[in-house]
């Protein structure tokens, strides 16, 4: 199949892979789960459909805001199957048909049918749609095309489409707006066979009802009712007996009754006549309720009963505080049940909720329970009701609830049956933190307490390596290595493998995960970021390591700082919150009256190891935190060296700033930090018509470099250009800047710059014609690796730039060296003249890349690996040696000795170099690398919809024995040696005696 040329290139790749495999640490299948863990999530649930009838396993199918569809086990919450749709493929509706098809409507125009037991896609079809209008999917009780599969019906704006349930073929389609000028909001099935009614807005001043023939799609019998004033077209509440709309000025509610002749009778009721205190922001909620409607205003939810004969509205319930109302559930023929979940009281660690299930038109209460949920789940924001039949034939109810932290819980009989931490599917930022030190008083002797036990374990292990063990023993060995007791201890370990991963989720919840097995150590729904009436909601942006105690402040707990941005339209623009990482409590919080554009972490720490941070606002003023006298004094000394830069993507400019004097603290609020004015030092203007900034990458602030030189095989020295203020900027041709394909290659050029952010000097510029983004890049030490798309070859490419400082070349002046004037010992300054040599090389790369990072180790001695999140949602670890601009087609023996690989036109990928091995990190968004205390090892945390954690050792584990080192074999060898010494001693004694007798 493969041509000789392809084969030859494959052979070449194989050689490189073979060269690499000696250094790459691949995983054996039985090592899965020893160092790594993988967790699957689905995200915040927005639709849920239960499948509890029949004999099959009870499930609930959910669709989430992260575009995932999943079938969950109703008893345990485990995932049976899950699919994550494309990024723009938002799920609008979800249904289960005939007990075996899951139907989804996404993006407003794509209908898919999935097989319920195994999640296979049965068919997929595109329909026409008016974007941005009300969407709905209805399974029909009839079979239009006679293929014994019930068909379905989609309304998307005014276009109605009937789709065959068997293969997704369009049966008929009508445009109701075009033919009848009705914008259908909802379709209700009529009691008669083959008929349905569509209700919708008739212009903006009316409501209309149209009869739909399900067999043919004919619209007939249009009945409309004009109104005196404009309607709010946000929502029309429709049931089979009436439709309710709110007027655009929110003055009155309009009920359009449907009488037996299918005519509309309009009854207008002023809101003030029903509600004494209607509030300011009255809104009709889009819940599917029967017999009642729900309105929200300010901080209350009002439930109004609608009389189906007279259209009279009456107040049923006024619910204040946090309330979630489920859709109405049809229990028996015309019996409905609706759940209300109210927040009742706040406990110390748990919140108490009332779950009330109401019967028809809310007159009776069928079930009432109180449920306790941990307080870090916040309020309940969504509820889905499901009924089951008890042993005494009465109906019981269970409810699936979505918490404020996006978690999903199943409540039944006042108990939480299971909870899924699905907030972890939307991690915004992650940061590592140290665990507490082991205290002397705490006994640690639980592990390996019994020598006999320990020896037994090792002998079993040896038997396993010698393939002598029975399957039972093998299982025992595997169990023992997976459940090492010390893996999940909550104290620091010698190698620095045990750490906390502090993750911040979109819902404003901060959690600490243990690196041992990924369990949640603590969670906190950050109180100061929660929305409350009259205050904005804050969306969290980033975590900063505020206080990392070491040296003299060891007793302090580490603290992280959360930066959050407020919803627009409020005086408060942002918030800061300080969280104690060991206790999981909020220490302090500040609301900011300015919006923060960036945060500069300074290298200065105060006496309690709190790091000084500068918050830059949109007026380019710097706010110093912590706002203490001590930090101010420290910072004033450092101020001359504080610079920051800004990338203005809108104007295609970069600006650099230096700090001016302190603004008099008495004029402002000290709590919001000491304010410094800044002045613009430099600007770089990119030609906006040909270049648009797409990627800006800096070095990791905590990166450690071991040596500034590189010794070549001929004992020459190259000096790395290690500038901490280096920034990599990539620009691409302006239009379609992030789209692959669909453009002619001629005018597309990718230009990359290396900029010093203190002086604004462009140190290097490379232009790549016929290339385009998206650009992913990594900047580390003195090199940059970036990934982009080659339009001419139509494949991805990666380039490496290595920057060497020629001005520091040793001039071998011994006297100068003795006088300490040797230029290699002069500190690097951005202002000193530079003479750089930039080496460059490019390679083809197979995959689309989602994210990219580099490993980091404690001292920076170990070689580096590039970690790439591929389109397959796998994490690929590639040796930096593959990205070495000194690679040549035929390296000389000296270069080979140096470890330079022969040049290949594309980067070879061996399947063993996937860190995620046989897992996928669905929806991969970010990679975090953390140095372990063991120099050889770097910890890797990948997050997206799923979470994955593992260790990687770019140059193999050279500083500790590997986990599968056989102590027993060592012991046996020693014993054998000892015995042989004795035996040979005895033998030689005898022989000597015999000699003497001669």
């Amino acid at each position: 199949m493969a041509s000789p040329r392809l084969r030859a290139s494959l052979c070449q790749l194989f050689v490189v892979v073979a060269c690499l495999s000696s250094t790459c640490l691949a995983l054996y299948e039985d090592q899965v789960g020893v160092r790594d863990w993988h967790q699957q999530y689905i995200g915040r649930v927005k639709h849920a459909v239960f499948q509890t009838q029949g004999t099959g396993r009870k499930r609930v199918v959910v669709a989430t805001e992260q575009n995932a569809i999943a079938s969950l086990n109703l008893r345990t919450g485990d995932i049976y199957w899950r699919h994550v749709l494309g990024e723009t493929d938002n799920i609008d509706a979800l249904e289960i048909s005939m007990g075996k098809y899951v139907l989804t409507l996404s993006k407003g125009n794509t209908v898919r049918a999935w097989h319920l037991p195994d999640g296979a896609l049965i068919w997929e079809t595109r329909i026409q749609a008016f974007q941005g209008f009300n969407l709905g999917l209805i399974k029909l009780p009839v079979d239009i095309d006679g293929d014994k599969v019930n068909d379905l019906f989609v309304y998307s704006g005014s276009i109605l489409t009937a789709i065959s349930g068997a293969d997704g073929a369009t049966l008929w389609r009508v445009d109701a707006a075009g033919s009848k000028n009705i914008f259908i909001e909802k379709v209700v099935l009529a009691p008669e066979e083959g008929k349905a009614y569509g209700l919708g807005f008739f212009g903006i001043m009316g409501v209309a009802l149209v009869e739909i023939d399900l067999k043919t799609g004919d619209l007939s019998d249009l009945k409309s009712a004009e109104l005196s004033s404009m309607l709010s077209t946000e929502h029309l509440h429709v049931t089979s007996d009436y439709a309710v709309a709110l007027q655009s000025d929110a003055e009155s509610l309009v009920v359009a009754l449907i009488n037996s002749h299918k005519e509309l009778i309009v009854v207008e009721t002023p809101v003030s006549s029903i509600l004494t205190n209607p509030g300011t922001s009255l809104k009709l909620l889009s819940t599917n309720l029967e017999g009642v409607i729900s309105l929200s205003s300010d901080d209350q939810t009002v439930i109004l009963k609608v009389d189906p004969t007279t259209g009279k509205l009456s107040l049923v319930e006024r619910l204040t505080g946090a309330v979630a109302v489920s859709d109405s559930l049809s229990v028996l023929d015309d019996k409905y049940a609706t759940a209300i979940v109210e927040f009742s009281e706040e406990g110390s660690a748990q919140n108490v909720f009332n779950l009330r299930v109401k019967g028809n038109d809310f007159s009776d209460e069928v079930q009432k329970e109180t449920v306790k949920l941990p307080s870090h789940r916040g309020f309940i924001q969504k509820a889905f009701l499901n009924a089951y039949v008890r042993t005494d034939r009465s109906h019981g109810f269970r409810a699936l609830v979505v918490g404020e932290d996006d978690s999903l819980s199943l409540l039944q009989q006042g108990e939480v049956v299971w909870t899924r931490e699905d907030g972890l599917a939307s991690i915004v930022d992650a940061s590592p933190a140290e665990l507490p030190l082991e205290k002397d008083g705490v006994s640690v002797a639980e592990v390996e307490h019994d020598l006999a036990e320990w020896l037994k374990g090792h002998i079993m292990k040896m038997k396993a390596t010698l393939f002598l063990a029975t399957p039972d023993e093998l299982a025992a060995v595997q169990r023992a290595r997976l459940n090492q007791a010390d893996k999940t201890k909550h104290t620091r370990d010698h190698n620095g493998f045990r750490k906390l991963l502090v993750v911040l989720t979109k819902a404003g919840k901060i959690s600490a995960l243990h690196t041992g097995d990924g369990h949640v150590v603590w969670s906190l729904l950050v109180p100061s970021l929660r929305a409350s009436y009259g205050n904005p909601r804050f969306s969290p942006l980033k975590i900063f390591q505020w206080q990392v105690p070491h040296q003299h402040a060891l007793d302090e707990n580490p603290v992280v700082l959360i930066l959050a941005q407020a919803d627009p339209g409020y005086d408060v623009k942002g918030a800061l919150s300080w969280i104690d990482v060991h206790k999981g409590t909020e220490l302090q919080s500040v609301k900011l009256s300015y919006s923060v554009t960036q945060v500069v972490t300074t290298p200065v720490t105060d006496s309690s190891e709190q790091r000084l941070h500068l918050l830059i606002d949109n007026r380019k003023r710097a706010h110093l935190f912590p706002a203490t006298e001590e930090s101010l004094a420290l910072f004033l000394k450092y101020k001359e060296n504080a610079y920051f830069y800004e990338v203005d993507k809108a104007d295609q400019k970069m600006h650099g700033y230096g700090l001016l004097d302190l603004v008099d603290p008495s004029t402002g609020n000290i709590k919001e930090g000491y304010v410094f004015e800044s002045r613009k030092l430099w600007s770089i203007v990119f030609p906006a018509e040909t270049e648009s900034i797409t990627t800006v990458v800096t070095r990791k602030s905590d990166e450690v470099t071991h040596t500034q030189t590189k010794v070549l095989s001929n004992r020459d020295i190259l000096f790395k250009y290690l500038n901490k203020n280096l920034v990599f900027v990539a620009t691409v041709a302006p239009k379609d800047k992030s789209q692959v394909g669909a453009v002619s290659p001629e005018e597309k050029t990718l230009v990359v710059y290396l900029v010093d952010t203190v002086t604004g000097r462009i140190l290097h510029r490379v232009s790549h014609p016929n290339m385009q983004g998206p650009v992913h890049a990594v900047l580390s030490e003195n090199w940059v690796v970036y990934h982009y798309f080659n339009l001419r070859q139509h494949r991805y490419e990666m380039s490496v730039l290595e920057i060497y400082d020629q001005s520091r070349l040793p001039d071998k002046g011994v006297i100068q060296l003795m006088l300490g004037q040797h230029n290699s010992s002069v500190p690097i300054s951005s202002y000193s003249p530079v003479n750089l040599e930039v080496k460059q090389q490019s390679y083809f790369f197979t995959f689309t890349v989602k994210t990219m990072t580099v490993t980091s180790t404690a001292k920076g001695i170990t070689a580096k690996q590039l970690l790439l999140g591929t389109v397959n949602d796998q994490v690929l670890a590639l040796d930096k040696r593959l990205f070495d601009p000194r690679r040549t087609l035929t390296p000389t023996p000296a270069e080979q000795e140096e470890g330079i690989l022969p040049l290949t036109d594309s980067i070879p990928i061996s399947p063993q170099s996937y860190l995620t091995h046989s897992y996928q990190v669905e929806g991969l968004r970010g990679l975090l690398t953390i140095p372990a205390r063991l120099e050889s090892t770097s910890l890797v945390f990948a997050y997206g919809l799923d979470l994955f954690y593992t260790h990687t050792a770019p140059s193999k584990i050279y500083d500790s024995l590997t986990e599968d080192f056989s102590y027993a074999l060592l012991l046996v060898t020693i014993v054998v040696l000892f015995l042989s010494i004795i035996v040979t001693y005895v033998l030689s004694e005898r022989r000597e005696l015999a000699e003497k007798w001669k």
Partner: protein, 205 residues
Amino acid sequence: MAVLLKPIFCFSGHLVLFCVLCGCFVASTAYSSGDDLYAVEGQVKLESLRGKSIGKVANIKVVFDGGEQVSFLRTDGSFVFEGVPPGTHLLEVTALGYFFPPVRVDVSSRMPGQIRASYVEGPRRTLDGLVLEPLREENYYEIREPFSLLGLLKSPMGLMIGFMVICVFLLPKLMDSIDPEEMKRLQEAQRAHPSPVAQFLQGRT
């Protein structure tokens, strides 16, 4: 109003691809752009995935233009992308346990709806239709070498033991093979001019 054309592939055995345009004219208002948009249909050869199954066929995704669109495989392995503008596009198949080489798809703007597909890597080779198959299976794990005596001997500890054995059993033999007369002379010579090591050892004893 844009026009959506649905090309259908004629899977002939030749490399040249015939595209028959089906006269299925569908009025589309979903796309605001004035360009003509096409559908790209293809198939993943499911027979080639039967070997082993780390991931299920249901989990295989086809990614268009690096994530612009994502499609799933139907039970027969077919997939479709709709609303594709003319130009050159990239198609990737993500299947755990298999390596699918990326494919470029050229949607012609001059001959409406004509589609050519070829592998991006290696020599340009047109695909028959858009039938994709994996280049190879991927094994993510290192295979444990089965236990062998030679392997054990090659390990550092094995070498050590081997060397010891040689010392213990072969060296005396070597001594024996030396002529007794020669041996005596040697010993005498040693006694006459003791080496520093021997002196040191004697001094200790």
